[in-house]
Each structure stands twice: as structure tokens, then as C-alpha cells.
Symmetry: C2
Subunit: 320 residues, 2 copies
């Protein structure tokens, strides 16, 4: 792995940068990319950001301050917050094998780039970008600050997840001093809900049923509910955490009806119960606290098999 000093030397001695984000772009990959792009442009370099997918309108402000520079051939390819070349999506074919530098905070980084700087202790890749920009000697401004703040806030769930460190908070504080509107950013990222989302959440919570002595909660989203509410796929993201957040619930299950009539099942657990282990029974998998699987059958049939599985699973854990 490269040292931060070598990273800086490489950035200083090169020009004509393409900065790549990962697919399904989030606040960290976008904030990191646009902050670095602006910093390089302020150093008199040519730089542009390439994102494999459409960037959601709510992230549009991250581009503020970026000079449109598209009419150049890249001489140095950088990826930010991209743990694996496969995550470059449609950019993989062209650039996957020729990334010169990767800056990332995933310990699982596969080392696909010619040189990498990976720090798994950072809550966000943008915390490394923050250091890079400091070392480049670029003055922070409100645009860079908004990018860095957004990246840290979104990757820590607004400073809620276990990954947030004192340094995450302190960088955020400094970015506020450079003028970023933290409250507005967090409002857009975390609070504001469309009326469609409110409506679907209400319906989802109406569907809640408790099993295993209230330690399992199951909710569902049918195609009909999605259609009637007019909600986007993107907005359905947070739904999966709803049943897990009910006091006393150990396994929260969200069933989402798919076009073929089967159910995409998201499982979220508390108190260390292994969601991945649970989902394996249905041919799925994932992480300890968050996993998924697919279940077929009618709504009632699918719900019933999940409920029974949850009852046995919880009984097994409780008796262990």
C-alpha cells in the first residue's frame, strides 16, 4: 500500500484525471469524488468525475463548484470508495483494469488498482480525501466542505452507526466552519420524506404482525401498495429497517412482492442474532445484522413459512 505522502506526490506529478465512483452511487463515493475533483481543479489540473449510474437529484449540489471539463483524454485514473473493480458497473469494462490509484476505506478492498491507499478505520472514504486535500495544500471552501460533510454524514447514518469516530465528528465540525449547511444536508439526506414514502410507510406499518412472543415482526409491501403510493424503488430502501426498530423485536422481516409473484425478503436482527444464518434456510445470506432471501408462494403462505422459521430460530437461540 502507498503512503499518504506518495499519494500526494502522485497527484501533484500527474494531470488529466478521471475520478470513478462505484455503481448505485451514495453520498460517500460522490462526495469523495467531487471534493477531490474540485481540489485538483483548484490546483490547476484537469479533472472530471465519472459515475456508472445516474446521480439522484438530491445529490446535485455536490457538483457545485466543479468546472465542466470533459474534452480531454484521461492520463491518470482514480477510484474512490470502490472496494472491487466489479463495483465500477458499466465503467468496469473500459477502466476496471487500468485504475492508477484507489482511495478507499473498505478493509475488503481487492487491490485491483496499480496503487491503493486503504484505511479501514475511517467511517467514510471522504475522511481520507479530507486528509489528501489538506496535504495537497488546497484551501477548503464551502463546496468541498459540503461534499466531505455529506459523505461522512451519509456513511455514518447521520453519526449514528458504530463506524463514526471522534475524528468523523471533528471533520464534520470543521466542514461546518467552512460554511456547509449541515442541517440542510441532513434534512435532505435523512428527514425529508415524500408524501408517497409517508403513505407507503403507513401501509407497511399497518401490515405488521408479531410472532414468537413479539420477538419477531413481519411486514410486507405488495406490488399494489407500491403502485398506489407512486413510490420509487430508491425510496423503498429504508423500509427494511422498520420492523427491527420495534422495542423487543429480535428478528424484523420485510417481505417485498416481486413482479413474478415471489417475495424478496429482508431480514434485520438485534442483539447479535444471525440474520445470515436465518436466511440460509431459504437459500439466502448476507451479514449478521442484515441479510436477505427469496420466498415463493402466496402472501399468506410465504408469511407463514417465515413466521414458523423465525419461531424455531428464536427458540433455538433462546434455548442454546
Amino acid at each position: 500500500m502507498m503512503s499518504l505522502t506518495e499519494i500526494i506526490e502522485n497527484l501533484k506529478s500527474h494531470d488529466d484525471f478521471y475520478i470513478l465512483t462505484h455503481q448505485y452511487p451514495d453520498g460517500d463515493t460522490l462526495g469523495s469524488a467531487f471534493a477531490l475533483c474540485r481540489a485538483l481543479q483548484l490546483q490547476g489540473k484537469r479533472a472530471r468525475v465519472l459515475c456508472p449510474d445516474v446521480i439522484a437529484p438530491k445529490y446535485e449540489y455536490l457538483k457545485r463548484g466543479i468546472k465542466p471539463q470533459t474534452d480531454f483524454e484521461p492520463k491518470y485514473i482514480i477510484s474512490v470508495d470502490v472496494a472491487d473493480a466489479n463495483l465500477l458497473g458499466r465503467l468496469k469494462e473500459t477502466y476496471g483494469g487500468i485504475v492508477d490509484m484507489c482511495i478507499d476505506h473498505h478493509s475488503s478492498n481487492t487491490g485491483y488498482a496499480k496503487c491503493s491507499y486503504v484505511d479501514g478505520t475511517k467511517a467514510a472514504a471522504a475522511e481520507i480525501i479530507y486528509e489528501v486535500i489538506k496535504l495537497l495544500g488546497v484551501d477548503f471552501d464551502v463546496d468541498i466542505a459540503s461534499c466531505i460533510y455529506t459523505a461522512i454524514s451519509t456513511d455514518t447514518g447521520c453519526f449514528r452507526y458504530t463506524n463514526a469516530t471522534p475524528q468523523s465528528y471533528r471533520i464534520a465540525a470543521e466542514m461546518m466552519e467552512y460554511g456547509c449547511d449541515a442541517a440542510q444536508i441532513n434534512r435532505v439526506m435523512f428527514e425529508t420524506k415524500s408524501r408517497a414514502k409517508l403513505e407507503i410507510e403507513r401501509q407497511v406499518m399497518d401490515s405488521i404482525e408479531y410472532y414468537a412472543d413479539n420477538r419477531c415482526a413481519i411486514v410486507y409491501v405488495t406490488l399494489d401498495m407500491v403502485k398506489k403510493s407512486g413510490i420509487n424503488d430508491d425510496e423503498l430502501d429504508g423500509i427494511a429497517s422498520l420492523p427491527r426498530n420495534v422495542e423487543g423485536v429480535l428478528i424484523g422481516i420485510t417481505m417485498r412482492q416481486k413482479d413474478d409473484g415471489s417475495f424478496k425478503v429482508s431480514v434485520r436482527t438485534n442483539d447479535g442474532l444471525d440474520a445470515s444464518e436465518f436466511c440460509k434456510q431459504f437459500g439466502g445470506g448476507g451479514h449478521t445484522a442484515a441479510a436477505g432471501c427469496t420466498v415463493c408462494g402466496s402472501l399468506e403462505e410465504a408469511k407463514s413459512s417465515l413466521a414458523h422459521a423465525a419461531e424455531s430460530f428464536i427458540a433455538g437461540v433462546t434455548n442454546a
Copy 2:
């Protein structure tokens, strides 16, 4: 107003403290009170916290480290985060007129105490308590840190509201270094919901009505809804932010029916609209983004006067 130095001198030269919180206690008043109580006890003083209402179980950990000292007569009465003697609830009769020192962050503080230290720029009263504890020369420990962190996090909506300052973030970072479990605190404070709370939220969102071209949203909580759901007063806290979170809403109003039939009204605003200014029309007050007042009349009457006031208010701001 007293200087911080005088506050410290007064704390050092007195003993046998009662520390009063406001009614419907929240994370800031409780965190401030218990942090100060522990700091004074660590200075060899006798101190206890008096809260006019039952403290919700989720706040129980704030008492960690407090020595039970109840067998003494108070010689010095302090109130924390209490803007008005009326907010002392059942403690008002006994102590309302004899508060020696008030430490608060509400600009609207009525000055009911013999001496006051009020700093309206602070996101939480606990940010002042943090300075007081520093100046007292007490070493922070995990218990004090958990109190201060909880107070700041809850009063800023987990660092989301406009009141959060860089200093709020930096104090939080320092408290994490003293060992407080920020992620766990935020999970308990912001994610976990009782079934009663889920149920009341559902009903509250069912009550939503839009005015002023969808820029004002009004919801209500009746005594009957509270009774049926079995929810605690404490759990009703977050309800006030629900209507403000709907996309496009500038003024979110939550009406809560009181025993005397009047409504306690919480107003939350977006985009810099002055909630305090709005509430003044009804004899209330507060902060820019969060304020309150009381409105009498039937549900429909009260709602109608609030809706009309909001329409004029938004029109006034928009035309200004």
C-alpha cells in the same frame, strides 16, 4: 446575568444542592442535571437531582455513577434547561420562587432564578454544563460523558437540527473519547420504538392535513389517542417533528390535547421560517426552528386558527 466565573465560584462556595429538571424531562435536562450532580459529588459536595415527572426507563443509564444522596435539606437550588418556573411542574410550588441558579440555553428564559447563566447560542444546556464541569476542574469519566453526549445528541436530533454547532460536534467527539457508547445511545434514543409509539405515530400521520398550498402540515394527538395507545408522555417527544419532515412543508404543527381541553402546540419550521415569531401570535415562543404555544377551543377551532395563522404567516414571508 452572571459570568461563567461567578457560576463556578457560587458552585464552589456552596453545598447541599438540589438540581431541578423541567417537566416532561428530555435528554438535555436529564443529561445536564445528572452530569452536574455527578461533577458536584466528585467535588465532595452533596447533590441530588429532582425531576417533576417519572423518568422514562430508557434514560435510566444517565443515573449511573450518581451516589444516592437524599437525606439532606437543600441549601442551594439549581435548575438546568428550565426556561420558566412554570416548567418545573409539580416542583414549582415548593421551589419555583427560590431557585438560586439557573443554567439554560433558551433565549426566552424568564429570569425567575436569583442568578442565571443563559446562552442561547448553545444547542443544548449540556454544552454549558460541559464548560462548567471543565472550569470546576472535575475529570470527565464515562458516566458524565454519556450524560453530556445524550443531552447534545437528543437536543440536536442526532446532530441534524440547525441548532447543532461545530462545538456541539466537538464536545460529542470528546465525550466519545471518554468512553461513551454513542452508537448505542443513538439507537436507544432515535431508532427503537415501543409498539405504543408506533401505534400513535400511525394515528398521528393519519390525522395529517395540509394547508397553504401544502407548505403547512398539521397533525394532532388527542387525549383519547394517548389513552388508547398506552403511550408515555415522554414517548410523545419526537412526534412534533413528523409534519415538518414531509417534502415541501415549511411549517409543521403538532397539536397535543391537554387535560383541560386546550392544545399544547409544537411548531417546527424549515428554510429559516421563524417558529418563535409564529408562536408569539398565540402567546408562545421558543427557537427559530422549534417553538411552542397553547391554543384553546375545540380541535376544529384550534386547528382552524393555526391553519389561518400559518397561511398568513407563509404568505407574509413569501411576499416579503
